[in-house]
Symmetry: C2
Subunit: 159 residues, 2 copies
């Protein structure tokens, strides 16, 4: 397309354009696939899943497949240097548990998720949708996804 | 300041402005303080340092205080579920080692660091400066710093 160069009427400052551009970036276009584990899984199994799937957080689901917790590499490392046997600790006792879980939805703005990741000092948010009286996990948003969004914004702008 | 609204001549498209704005963001304004460990530290000590300092990566320095490696939570978790005693494994045997370390300098562009973090699939880059025939660690850039930069860019734009 022909670049719009020179005099043009926008009614906006350049920064308003940037702000609108960023606000239009929705979670659905940047989320990754979630990696889930059952509450009854052992800490050892969880570490293996993390390495196999190459993720830093697992989303934990109950028997109905609904979100019940989030398990981080940090939770597992804390358990690993403790005195308990990783094979006999169920992840349900070391995970962060609902309702103390921060989550987002696929039509949320990426920038709002970025602010949550920073303000709550967390690594990953489950992307959820309502199912019955609980939440079904449909995606994953991490600082990696935010970093990719930032790179894409810069590249798109540079084209 | 009065907003520039309406007809204005820029000689640039809005996206060029955004691109320039992003390119001007330098590492020095977004880096965190580095957390370093000695090569002779044990894996157990390294885990404790990570928890105390609340970081996901340690930069390892040699006797001259120069960068010799990077140690991640993932390296420690792998060791923790192995058969070795965390108290008797020096971090020098489990860390990523120079010259296989990706680093950056304080006058690099944040966007270039973001691209490195994504393309090399790493969590943290040491910010370094040349010292003698080695590199001194003066900072830390992670996906958290990139996420903060993204939020700041959006907020600045929204003002």
């Amino acid at each position: 397309a022909r670049p719009r160069v020179g005099y043009f009427y926008t009614g906006q400052t350049p920064f308003t354009l940037l702000s609108e551009q960023i606000q239009k970036m929705e979670v659905r276009n940047y989320q990754s696939l979630p990696v889930v584990a059952k509450e009854s899984s052992s800490a050892y199994e969880a570490v293996c899943t993390m390495f196999l799937e190459d993720v830093g957080s697992l989303f934990v689901v109950n028997d109905q497949g609904l979100l019940s917790g989030v398990l981080s590499r940090k939770d597992l490392l804390r358990t690993a240097i403790g005195s308990q046997d990783m094979n006999h600790v169920p992840i349900s006792v070391i995970m962060s548990r609902m309702p103390n879980i921060t989550f987002c939805r696929s039509d949320d703005a990426v920038i709002d998720v970025a602010e949550l990741l920073i303000s709550r000092e967390i690594d990953a948010l489950p992307v959820v949708r309502t199912k019955g009286d609980g939440l079904e996990v449909i995606g994953r948003m991490t600082k990696t996804n935010i970093t990719k969004a930032f790179v894409e914004l810069a590249r798109g702008a540079a084209e």
